[in-house]
């Protein structure tokens, strides 16, 4: 992202930077504090003085050391806030914090401003570039824009998205990714570690926009985003949310918003010099879309707002560690033909105080862009007594629309039932399409290129041969529209599927649709999440337009603002589709008792009959039964005869039954030993079967 030459220009910076001033100030106060403490302990005054002078010396020395090194290893932090009223009566606030650590010797590294956790992360896992975003709510492409750097960089899919590029040999990329997910999971209090499993991430080759084979991408659509994720993110800032622009982040007002995306982007910058490591650039952004409370009665006037009404807090001063802290206000769709004619020198007031709207503060600078104005405010002047509370008051109803991406994409599921379905991606031409200049004129034909990148979880078994493409409601063969396609099919329970395709559509296209069929898979009982009956998520697809780049084009020369230079860079226009919810068949978890009963019954029946078959010998059993029956009738007869005998008073004749009894006894003992042997045999067979059936 950041090029080396840019970096060098940053080194040439004025000597005594604000943080150095602060450092000196801090040192002085520390000395005073120590002397106070020593006095309190009533030490020997001479001794105390000696100690004091020693401390002062030490501190001074450290300061000088830092000053000496500063020219080479400057760590810069800047904070910026961009405010932008949106056409649908909402306000976008985009916080941008940038932290740069210059290249330095990788041994014995020490940071002043740069968060140690991140630099350790980069060193340990050799991360080349990484982006992590936590998002809640959906970006409204129609109203909030889809063709400006802000939306193409900050409109993120719901939940957590993480991608990282590593600087390790190809074989170690996966392990690095796994370790990184665990580290980030701990760092940001989120279940990013679920991206560790190979079923949840993919390795995009070209569809993602970054061409690298060491890139891994994964997203967790169901991750709930809340303050517990914001707090560790704020901890990475030197002033946290105590001071400066980040003090605005009042949790209730931030999370009351319609969209909330917190992003962390880090990239390493090779120094090019021998012996030096690489520099790290950490970019933290928070994008919030808020609805100002409109008190005004008139419905068509945009609501007026101020920082304090939006956030419930004020900016009372800059973060002293920041190199620059600015607030920008971007107004789109102003009657520019009126304002264009205004001379910025003489009638500057007209820009911010006119018939249409009024700003509560005078901007320090006004930047003009093709279809918007950017008002710059320096918050240096604000203090506790006079907080920086920028407000915008609309006086006349105004309407404008944001720039749209060339095609508006929606994705939905088709079909019904628990067996199969289809995924459809629908691309619709937006109104602004004609005005765009990004079309590619190849072979004399004007075409729009669109990349689609999609991950399919393995339980959505996609049949890639069923891919159908409709352009302007007419089915087109793949060879005509499909420029490039890369498919990696999923493996059950092992890896997720991935599809990258490049469509080349004619410029005058009105709509294009892609549909692809899938079968729903069956999960193992322990693979179901706790709320299985909700259904399963298919992560967002990414639609990007490789020939379209969004950037803000300023007429004036820019100051060294990281945010604006970021906007000035050309960024790929991309939009994420909705997350889809696929209902899968779920077992009835609420009835374990039934399940246990049924399985036990089945087992009992199975093993009972099996044992019966193995154990029984029909012939012998019959003989045994017969003898038993004979005996029984004999006994009855005996009893009767006994009775008779008693009645008659005669002695009884003994029946020769002892021999048969002994025989049966012998039989039964033989039986038992055989039985035992057979049971062991069956058990062994069952164990072997179990062993071979489980181990594929």
């Amino acid at each position: 992202m950041c090029k080396p030459d840019q970096y060098h220009s940053l080194y040439k910076h004025h000597f005594l930077s604000p943080e150095l001033r602060d450092l000196l100030r801090n040192a002085r106060s520390a000395v005073i504090q120590v002397s106070d403490r020593l006095r309190r302990f009533s030490l020997d005054p001479i001794m105390a003085r000696l100690v004091l002078s020693l401390i002062t010396l030490l501190i001074l020395q450290s300061v000088w050391v830092t000053i000496a090194f500063e020219s080479k290893h400057v760590e810069e932090f800047s904070e910026e806030l961009l405010l932008k009223p949106l056409p649908d009566r909402k306000v976008l606030a985009h916080f941008h914090f940038e932290n740069r650590a210059p290249p330095s010797n990788s041994h014995g590294r020490h940071h002043h401003l740069f968060p140690k956790a991140i630099s350790q992360l980069v060193q340990k896992f050799r991360v080349k570039e990484m982006e992590l975003s936590f998002t809640q709510g959906r970006w409204n492409h129609e109203h909030w824009g889809g063709f400006d750097p802000l939306s193409s960089m900050n409109a993120k899919p719901v939940g957590v998205e993480l991608w990282a590029e590593f600087d390790v040999p190809q074989s170690q990329v996966d392990t690095s990714w796994k370790n990184l997910t665990h580290a980030l999971s701990g760092l940001f209090c989120a279940s990013i570690n679920f991206l560790e499993s190979s079923t949840s991430y993919a390795a995009p080759t070209w569809g993602f926009g970054v061409n690298s084979d060491k890139l891994r991408y994964g997203s967790l659509p169901r991750e709930a985003v809340c303050t517990e994720n914001l707090t560790p993110w704020l901890k990475l800032l030197p002033c946290r949310d105590r001071d400066g622009i980040s003090a605005l982040m009042n949790r209730p007002s931030v999370y009351r918003g319609f969209y909330h995306s917190q992003r962390l982007h880090l990239s390493t910058v090779e120094s090019g010099e021998e012996g030096l490591g690489s520099g790290i650039m950490l970019e933290q952004t928070l994008t919030v879309v808020l609805q100002p409370d409109s008190i005004s009665g008139e419905a068509n006037i945009q609501p007026s707002w101020s920082l304090s009404s939006l956030f419930g807090r004020n900016i009372v001063g800059r973060c002293v560690l920041a190199k620059s802290s600015n607030v920008y206000l971007q107004l789109e769709g102003l009657p520019s033909h009126e304002l264009k004619n205004v001379d910025p020198e003489t009638e500057a007031d007209k820009f911010w105080k006119n018939a249409e709207f009024e700003l509560s503060l005078k901007p320090d600078r006004i930047l003009r862009e093709i279809n918007s104005f950017l008002y710059m405010f320096d918050i240096d002047k604000s203090s506790d007594r006079e907080p920086f509370d920028l407000g915008l008051t609309w006086k006349l109803p105004s309407k404008w629309s944001c720039q749209q991406a060339p095609l508006h994409s929606t994705r939905f599921l088709m079909g019904s039932g628990n067996e199969r379905g289809a995924i459809a991606i629908l691309l619709k031409a937006t109104e602004s399409q004609e005005k765009l200049s990004g079309e590619d004129l190849t072979n004399g034909r004007c075409t729009i290129k669109a990349n689609i990148f999609q991950i399919f979880p393995w339980y959505v078994k996609v049949y890639y041969h069923t891919l159908q493409i409709f352009v302007d409601q007419q089915q087109k063969p793949g060879s005509e529209v499909l420029k490039k396609i890369n498919v990696s099919p999923s493996t059950d329970k092992v890896s997720s599927g991935m599809m990258e395709m490049m469509l080349e559509l004619p410029c005058e296209v009105k709509s294009a649709a892609i549909s692809i069929e899938y079968d729903k898979g069956f999960l193992h009982i322990d693979e179901y999440p706790p709320d299985a009956n909700q259904g399963f998520d298919i992560p967002s697809a990414l639609i990007s337009f490789p020939n379209h780049h969004a950037s803000l084009d300023f007429k004036e020369e820019l100051s060294k603002s990281p945010l604006l230079s970021k906007f000035k860079e050309k960024s790929l226009v991309r939009s994420y589709t909705e997350v889809l919810l696929v209902p899968l068949t779920t077992p009835d978890f609420s009835m374990p008792y039934n399940v246990i009963t049924i399985t036990c019954t089945v087992f009992a029946l199975y093993f009972g009959s099996l044992l019966n078959v193995l154990r029984r010998r029909i012939g012998e059993e019959e003989r045994y039964l017969k003898s038993q029956a004979g005996k029984r009738t004999g006994k009855l007869k005996q009893l009767l005869s006994r009775l008779k005998a008693k009645i008659r008073g005669r002695p009884i004749e003994e029946a020769p039954s002892s021999s048969t009894e002994s025989q049966t006894e012998v039989q039964s003992s033989v039986f038992s030993s055989k039985l035992l042997f057979k049971i062991i045999l069956v058990a062994g067979a069952a164990a072997a079967w179990q062993y071979f059936s489980t181990d594929k």
Partner: protein
């Protein structure tokens, strides 16, 4: 002693071929016992089955909310008077434009978009339910098959979507209000008022986690069709060119929008004036083939309507049963028994008052009937085809439609009821799965679960296998005695001849049930009566062909088979048993009612000739019984009788037409009852007829 043993052995050899067993197992003994006393047991079981059915109202349990997440009524309603007056305004506007179809649609669309919803119009064809015999159980398919379409008749649905502010857009809740844009209707407009009040509330609340879709279905072609067309477009769109787009009366250029997987749907209708003092709410839940929505949905609506809004909630019932004297007698008996039981043990509280019993029975009968018919009782049926839980709520206000003063209150309460329901569904993390899907309602707050109502059916069909086995043994014995030819004496194949006949008649039944499709294809306009005559003649000729071609099939065949009817009856009963059991899985209510008809008929039927010849009182009575049962068992006859019972007397040829229309509606709605009648009931009835006229 020895002589007796020898005799025993001889007997064993006789009874069981070759395998001498002294004492069979208890279960076999029980089976033999049941089979040998089958007449007694069949009477006992059948009577118990009918009694169990009559006892069902007593066994009904109170409904309870099974899913804890629903929490109905725990939140205070946020509906304000402003929302309601918005609804009133819409109703007034609609009345001003009444009859001007397009204007009203535009008006509603405008009203929706003013509230902040995304709107679109969808055009559909009025006729969509095309019968196809081979596509009975397949899922709903798209309307692509329709050939040339005319712009003369098409409907336009208006739909609006409110996106949940912080939701992820994976799920949605649908609210449907059918409205006839051409003919209007004062009461129907009120449903739009309620929905609009609710919609304007939902557009500004922050607690939504699922998107809300409000569909104003164009009900000029019936309530069901527009909803089905919309759902079909939602789930199975065709990306091909639709001819309807050219019919441009209203601008439908806005694309069809979707909002994820549907969690639940509510259909709201306002019709007629309530006869009671309170406003009445009727709940309709039966979808196609007796499928029911999850009981929790009904519970939530019932709970909120009764305990929060004070509606009088009712479920459809068979009114004629309320005044039937025989049911009253049963009710009195049950009440008396309940009282006696209560005096014996105060914990036995199963007795209910006669009035309650009558009410519950009438509701149960209606519930059974609607499920058995397999035709959805409202537009909610269309949702069930996509596994979406849906119910229709019909609200009847107690005031005339032009009463402005009451209207406000009515809107408020109706919208609050819907708000509470939607809020409960919104709370759901998973889809409805906790509560019952298989149940019968005896009142809006009482239900009979599958475990209880299965008993009645099980008791009814239990005698069938017993009687079949006993008849088979009898028939075999008689056959062995009668035939001297040993080659024909293969014992295990005796059923083959009978099975051939049964199979032939079932095949015929299958063909007969396919015939209406081909009759419909006959060119030219035919009245239903003509069509039914065509059907009857083709069926009769088919029957004759069957009798002629397959020897031994005809009851009038010259080949005398003595007591062959016993084996035939045994096979018939087996076939009926299998058919009923299969049907009980597909649609329980059909199987239950079918069993009530089939079981007595199959059990009672005997050749009529010997009975008539014997001229004994008992056998005459028996003959009469079988005659009556076989007559009522004829589907047309039963249809006529049920018509007569419900007070629509029909005679002669118009009956045929009426029956034809009824059957046509059954197959048009893809009701499995139609298949049951054609493939189980009709063949069994024919077989019974064969047995009845058996010349033995």
């Amino acid at each position: 002693m020895t002589t007796t043993e020898k005799r025993d052995e001889k007997e064993e050899v006789k009874t069981d071929d070759g395998s001498p067993k002294i004492k069979s197992r208890p279960i076999v003994q029980l089976g033999i016992f049941l089979i040998s006393h089958s007449p007694v047991f069949s009477v006992v079981f059948s009577a118990a089955g009918v009694l169990a059915l009559l006892l069902l109202p007593l066994l009904a349990k109170n409904t309870y909310i099974s899913e804890n997440a629903l929490m109905p009524g725990s939140a205070r309603s946020m509906l304000s008077n402003r929302d309601v007056s918005g609804g009133s305004k819409l109703v007034k506007d609609i009345k001003n434009h009444e009859g001007q179809g397009v204007e009203v649609q535009r008006l509603i669309g405008q009203h929706m978009s003013e509230m902040g919803a995304e709107i679109y119009y969808q055009k559909f064809h009025p006729e969509g339910n095309q019968f196809h015999p081979l596509r009975f159980f397949s899922g709903p398919d798209s309307d692509t098959l329709m050939g040339n379409v005319s712009c003369a008749s098409y409907g336009v649905n208006v739909a609006g979507i409110i996106r949940a502010p912080r939701g992820d857009g994976k799920e949605s809740i649908v609210l449907v209000t059918p409205y006839d844009f051409i003919n209007g209707g004062d009461y129907e407009a009120l449903s739009l008022g309620i929905a609009s009040s609710l919609f304007s509330l939902l557009a500004r609340v922050t607690w939504l986690s699922k998107d809300i879709i409000w569909l104003v279905a164009d009900s000029r072609y019936g309530d069901y069709r527009p909803v089905a067309a919309w759902l079909s477009e939602y789930h199975t769109p065709s990306f091909k060119v639709s001819d309807l787009l050219k019919c441009d009366e209203i601008n439908t250029s806005g694309s069809f929008r979707r909002a994820g997987t549907m969690a639940a749907a509510l259909v709201l209708k306002v019709d007629g004036r309530s006869e009671r003092f309170e406003d009445t709410l009727s709940i309709y839940a039966e979808a196609s083939n007796g499928q029911m929505p999850n009981l929790d949905l009904i519970n939530v609506v019932n709970y909120l309507a009764v305990h929060r809004q004070g509606f009088y909630v009712k479920v459809e019932k068979v009114v004629s049963l309320l005044s039937s004297s025989w049911l009253k007698i049963f009710g009195e008996i049950f009440e008396a028994v309940g009282k006696v039981a209560h005096t014996l043990n105060p914990n036995w509280n199963f007795g209910i008052p006669v009035a309650d019993y009558l009410e519950a029975s009438a509701t149960l009968a209606s519930s059974l009937y609607s499920q058995a018919l397999g035709i959805p009782t409202g537009p909610h049926g269309a949702f069930r085809d996509y596994q979406v839980d849906a119910i229709t709520l019909k609200v009847s206000p107690r005031f005339p439609p032009d009463s402005k003063a009451r209207q406000h209150d009515f809107f408020l309460r109706g919208a609050q009821l819907l708000e509470g329901t939607i809020r409960s569904v919104n709370n759901l993390l998973e889809k409805f799965h906790q509560s019952f899907f298989l149940y019968l309602l005896t009142s809006s707050s009482k239900f009979i679960s599958v475990g209880v109502y299965m008993i009645a059916f099980a008791l009814l069909v239990a005698p069938l296998p017993m009687v079949a086995a006993s008849l088979y043994i009898d028939g075999c014995n008689v056959l062995t005695k009668s035939t001297s030819n040993p080659a024909e004496n293969l014992k295990s194949w005796k059923w083959l001849g009978a099975a051939k006949q049964v199979f032939a008649l079932h095949l015929m039944g299958f063909i007969v049930s396919l015939l209406p499709y081909f009759i419909c294809q006959v060119p030219g306009q035919h009245s239903p009566t003509n069509r039914s005559i065509m059907w009857v003649t083709t069926s009769a000729s088919l029957l004759l062909i069957t009798f002629v071609t397959i020897p031994g099939c005809s009851p009038f065949s010259s080949r005398l088979h003595g007591t062959k009817w016993a084996v035939l009856k045994s096979v018939t009963i087996s076939a009926a048993f299998i058919g009923l059991c299969l049907m009980s899985i597909i649609n329980f209510a059909t199987a239950e009612i079918g069993a009530l008809l089939l079981v007595p008929m199959c059990l009672m039927v005997r050749p009529i000739k010997p009975d008539l010849r014997s001229r004994r009182m008992k056998s005459m009575l028996r003959a009469l019984c079988s005659m009556v049962l076989v007559t009522t068992g004829f589907p047309v006859m039963f249809f006529a009788i049920s018509r007569g019972l419900t007070g629509k007397g029909l005679v002669g040829l118009s009956l045929g037409g009426e029956f034809w229309t009824w059957l046509e509606s059954l197959w048009a709605w893809k009701s499995a009852t139609y298949l049951y009648i054609g493939m189980v009931h009709l063949p069994c009835w024919l077989l019974c007829l064969c047995i009845l006229f058996n010349p033995s």
